[in-house]
Each structure stands twice: as C-alpha cells, then as structure tokens.
Amino acid sequence: MTLATGINRLATVQDEPPAAIPGGPADPVLIVDHLTMRFGGLTAVNDLSFKVGRGDITALIGPNGAGKTTVFNCITGFYKPSEGMIRLVQKGGETYLLERLPGHDVNRLARVARTFQNIRLFPRMTVLENLLVAMHKPLMRASGFSILGILGLPAYRSAEKAGIEKAAAWLDRIGLTARADDAAGDLPYGDQRRLEIARAMCTDPVLLCLDEPAAGLNPRESSELNTLLRLIRDEYDTSVLLIEHDMSVVMQISDRIVVLDYGTKIADGTPDDIRTDTRVIAAYLGVDDEEVAAVEAEVGLTGTQA
C-alpha cells in the first residue's frame, strides 16, 4: 500500500492526461472506451481507454489494486461498468457491446473466454469433463437441447466423439493426457492453471483473458506457459489479454503492454516502449540507479515488489 502510494505520487508528478485512444493497433479485436467503474464511493477504474490488437498478446500490468481485475470483470460481463463502452470486433466485422450482454453471452455470442486469479475448475469432475463442459454450446445444439440426445441418436454421438477428440488434442498440448480421467481438483497447481487455459480455449474464443496465469508457477512451468500462450496466438484465431505480475512472462511474450495505476492508464505501447517509458519506470518497473535509494527511503521500503 505504501509503495503504491509512493508510486502514484511519483506518477502524478510528471502527469499529463492520457490521450483518449492514442492510435493503438490498426485492427483491434477489443476496444475499451472511457471505461469507468465505481463501487460506492471508490473509483476502481477511471476513464480507461485502450485497444487489444487482433492476433496480439496484450498485457495489462500495474501495481496491486490498480484495477486490473476490475477491468477484466467488466470485459467478461461479471460487472456492469458505471460508464464507458467495451466493443468486441470479430473477424467478419460483427461488433458486440460487451457491457450490454448478459454474463454468459459474453462468452456464448461475443466469444470472450477467461481464466480466474484463483483457479475456478470444476474440482470433482474429471479433466476431460472440464473440457467438455466448455463445449457446451455446440454439444447442446448437437444433442437437440437434450431431446435427441436422450433418445441416443447417432448425430449426438458423433458430435460428442468430435468433442472428445478436440479435448484430447488439448490434453496432448498441455501434457495432461495421462490424467484425463482424474478429478481436476486432484491435479497439481501448475497443471490446474494449464487446464483452466485449455478449458477456456475449448470455447473457441476470439479473445482470451488470462488473470495472472503465471501466479504460483515455478520457472520451468512459467516458461512452459510462455510456449503455450505463443502457440495460442500463432495457431488459433485468438488474441490474448493477460494480467500478469511476472515481468519475465510479460516482457517476453507481449506484443503490447497497457500500464494501469490507480485505475488510470499511464502508458500503452510495445515492451520496448514500456521499458523506456519514464513514467512507467518511475511508477512500476523501478527507477534509475541513483534514484533507487532515494525512492526507497522515501516510501520506507527496502524490498522490491514481487
């Protein structure tokens, strides 16, 4: 908290109001436009605008309490924003106003998928079942909304088989084939993270939102995650938006980074831009060597933030 206060003070010293939508990627999949979210008297997100480029991995970073997860919850339909617009543009050009869709339609129609900071699998169901639940929409249709399925018609059986194939391919990709029939809750932490991503991917999203996917992973798992995210970007029509604190992940895989502090955007650009952006350096990544001691003394802290 003290660090954040200090950072914010530093940030506002050389502040100038961020431009509404400063250019950004040419072909955006997601356009967040003047998003504001208030909880009672607290403004968690304040007039935030940014774009997520199609086919990009975009990282949303910022100190704790910067409002990143709130932005995610607004995008994925769990919160209704107090103000602003969130547009999702699909490849064909259809546009969805996410803030107007009921929660489940954000995934069902607009095809935005997400994972959660504290993993939300279906713990007593098996790994395979977890993936099949994610294919609810196509399988539901194939089962004739259960009526044909209950009669055991072959149309559904072949659809289910295709679903299992697809799940099996994902299990292969995340290395969990051997554990397909085990309860998801029994998996080790890192496997659960990967499974949650695979499950989100099984909904065929155009935008995948990952809330701290590397949290709690060891370096090896972390690098596996990088590989997985690159694979998703390169081999699927899925753009990725992620919240992450692990800078090794962020800097290595992001095409674009949006930096948030106290609910406001303070920077937006490529990793190289961010690395050299003075405001971000001051606010988040650290400051020049000779200033470090001064800042730490000022905020009364000697450790660095994880």
Binding site: F78, F116, L121
Partner: protein, 450 residues
C-alpha cells in the same frame, strides 16, 4: 517425545494408555452435557391428567440411561478415531470398498426388485399372503423414485430444494381432479401430471433460481408450504383439508381390474384375484422409477447434465464458459419436478385418496434425507438409502425382541424421524459426500476410439 529409545509400537501403546484418562474425561463431559440437556425435558414428562392441567411424572432412570449411553458411545467413538488415525499412519486407506460394494449391490437390488411379487408369494405361500411385502415394495419404490427425482436437483445441479413435495402434490392433485371432475383416465393424466408439475417448477424457478443456495432452499420451502396451505383452504378447488376421495383406480391400459367379463383377469383367461391390481401397481412404480433412473443416467452424459454438475461445482466458471445458468438450473428444476409429478399421480391412483396432509414439509425433508444419505448424486446410494430408511423402521416393527427390551408400546416408527434427523447430522459430520461418495465420470478418454 520422551519415548525416544523405545520401539514405535510400544510408544503408541503408551501414548494411548496416557490418553485414556483424557478420553474418559471427555466422554464424561459429554454425559454431563447430556444430563443438562435432559433436564427437564426428558426428566419430567407432562401428560394431560383426568382433571384440569398437566400431570408431571419424573423419569430420572431414562435420563441416566441416556447419559450412560452417550458416555459409552463417545468413548467408543474416540477410541475408534485414535485407532483409525494410527492405522492410517501405518498404511494407505482402502477407499474403494464402498464403491465396490455398490457395484455388487446394484444388480442384486435390481433382481430382487424385478421379482419381488414372485419372491413374496413364494416365501409367504400365496400372493395374498405376500401382500404386506408388495405394499412395502410399492412404498419404498415411491420414495426411490422421489429420491432419484430430487437427486437431479440436489445431487446433480446442487440446488437445495426444500419444497420438492409441492410438485408431488401438484402431480397427485392433477390426477385426482382431472379424473374426478373430467373423468380422464390415468394413462392420460400421468403425462399431464408430469407436465403440470414441470410447469410449476418453471413458474417457481424462474424468479428464484438466481438466489444463493441457502436462500433458494428457504424460498422453495416457503413455496411448498404455500401450496399446502392453499390446498387446505381453497375448499372449492381442492376439497380442503378433507381432501379428495374415491379417485378412480388404475386400469390395465383400459382393462379394469374387476371380476367382470371385461376385466383384466377374464380377458387374459386368469381367475380373478384382487392382488392383480396391486402387482400391477408394483410394476408400474418400478417402471416409473427405472425410467427416472435411466433418464438421469442419460442426462449425465449429455451436455445439459454435465452443465448441471459443473453448476454445482462452480457457478461463476460456468458463466465464463457461456452457460446460461438460469436456463440450466431451470431445466434441472423442471425435470426433477416432472418426476415428482409422475410419482404424485401414482400416489393418487394407488391411495384413491389425496389430502394436503400427505404433502407437508416433513415429507420434503424425508426425501431430502434420502438423497443426502445416498450420497447426493449416486443413484444406487439413493436407492439403498430409501430402502434402509423407509423399509428399515417397518421391518424393525416386526422384530419381537425389541418389544421385549423396550416394552410393549415400543414402535420404531416413532423414532424413525428422530433417527432421520440424527442421521442427516451424522452424515454431514462424518461422510459429507454420502455413503457412496465415489463419483463415476460421465465419460472417459478411452471412449475416444469408439
């Protein structure tokens, strides 16, 4: 820690010996609390005397017997727990016993259920003599069916429905009214009753299913009570507290079970026997129950059924995967209600009489207890729980030695609900996932090649 030099076994033995005074003290405390709880509610019984007011009789003997029983039970439980902790440390626990037992029990139960009328008449000498057993079988199967129906709602979808009996009532009154007022036959009313009950489920479910779990439970309870109170008070419609009597009996798909020329017996060249109808009712409820089971098992393998289970596990994750949670809950609610409706119309045709008192909260609680004890989601578990909890007290009633021990007025049925309540608590404390807690996956990876 002081026993560093002795062998581990000796150490545990010593540790246990040193534990014993503690255990006795603990059990003593339990007995003492029991004593406190028994005063004055057990120690003094109030009865209406001859004259005015109540007469008190003291029963300290019962109180001390209860305290002693609690003392012993607690001591045994504690000894068992410490023993089990040691055994656990020694080797990995055997978990699969229960599910293996279930795998054996399921076909046996099915075979017995299919041949019960035959078995009953063979064992007792004649079909008429076996009447008691067939009646009991019908009773148990009704609860098995209700348990399986509620299991869809509670066990699969994780929605605690405390007003399930309301849908049972809707089914029963549907048949009672449609047959007595419009003269419709049972075979037309049966599907209608299911549809009405399902419609009621949707009607109730739509506004309330977004509520959090415990609020949902209370609202369904309130709904159930409202239905019962309306049935009691709206005399013009439902006959009020007196209910509806002389409901037409079941026919063999149009052939009445009568001694006449066009009756069932005459048509099939059998000699008339009043038991035919009972046997037919038995197979009717058996088929209805098995259909409930079959549909549930099928649904589990369908996307909707999987969505129910996913909903039970994590509603927020479901929403993030594009599942409409309200519609999904509603389908579970409606399907559960539909089976209750079928069971209700069966109840009405069997009794030929319905009254609101058959559909009070306790009935809901009994069905819920069956589902909870059965393991919330396990089909065979629910069936076994229904057999034990409905059949058990009936059988105990006929055991002579219990009367010898507890006195002539002893009726196990009096204690049935008391034990239900205790069993529900014990279940939540010791085996919250039910007697049969093993979950069978709805699909396995091996099925890929199929």
């Amino acid at each position: 820690m002081a026993s560093g030099s002795t062998t581990p076994i000796a150490a545990t033995a010593r540790a246990e010996a040193s534990l014993l005074p503690g255990l006795i003290k603990d059990a003593g405390l339990f007995a003492l609390v029991t004593l406190g709880l028994c005063v004055p509610i057990v120690s003094y019984r109030t009865d209406l005397g001859q004259g005015i007011g109540l007469v008190i009789t003291s029963r300290w003997g019962t109180v001390f017997a209860l305290c002693a029983a609690i003392f012993v039970l607690r001591l045994v439980q504690q000894l068992y727990l410490t023993g089990r902790a040691r055994r656990r440390a020694a080797r990995a626990p055997v978990v699969e016993g229960a599910s293996r037992l279930a795998a054996i029990l399921a076909p046996i139960t099915l075979v017995v259920a299919l041949t019960l009328p035959l078995l009953a008449s063979l064992l007792t000498g004649s079909l008429g003599e076996g009447r008691y057993w067939i009646d009991l079988g019908i009773l148990i199967l009704t609860y098995v069916m209700l348990g399986w129906g509620l299991n869809i709602v509670v066990g699969l979808a994780g929605l605690l429905d405390l007003g399930y009996v309301a849908f049972y009532a809707v089914g029963a009154y549907s048949y009672a009214l449609l047959s007595t007022v419009f003269g419709l036959s049972f075979w037309i009313c049966l599907p209608l009753a299911g549809l009405f009950a399902a419609a009621f489920g949707v009607l109730l479910g739509f506004p309330v299913l977004r509520l959090r779990g415990d609020y949902l439970a209370i609202v369904t309870l309130a709904f159930g009570e409202i239905i019962r109170l309306v049935l009691i008070n709206w005399t013009d419609f439902s006959g009020g507290a007196a209910g509806i009597s002389s409901i037409p009996r079941v026919s063999f798909f149009g052939l009445p079970f009568t001694a006449g020329e066009n009756g069932f017996a005459a048509t099939f060249g059998l000699s008339f026997n009043a038991m035919h109808r009972l046997v037919f009712l038995y197979y009717l409820i058996l088929v209805l129950a098995l259909v409930t089971n079959l549909v549930t098992l099928r649904m589990r393998r369908l996307p909707l059924g999987r969505a129910w289970e996913a909903l039970r596990e994590d509603e927020i994750a479901c929403r993030s995967l594009g599942i409409d949670t309200t519609i999904t809950k509603l389908t579970a609610f409606a399907l559960g209600a539909m089976f209750a409706g079928f069971a209700g119309s069966f109840f009405a045709v069997r009794q030929a009489f319905v009254s609101p008192e058959s559909f009070n909260f306790l009935e809901s609680a009994i069905i819920l207890a069956i589902v909870v004890l059965g393991g919330m989601g396990s089909q065979i578990g629910v069936a076994i729980a229904a057999i034990v909890m409905i059949g058990g007290p009936e059988l105990l009633r006929n055991l002579g030695f219990l009367k010898a021990v507890f006195g002539e007025g002893f009726d196990p049925n009096e204690y049935r609900l008391l034990l239900f309540g205790l069993a529900m608590v014990a279940m939540m404390v010791f085996r919250p996932r039910g007697l049969i807690s093993e979950r069978t996956p709805s699909v396995t990876i091996a099925e890929r090649g199929r």
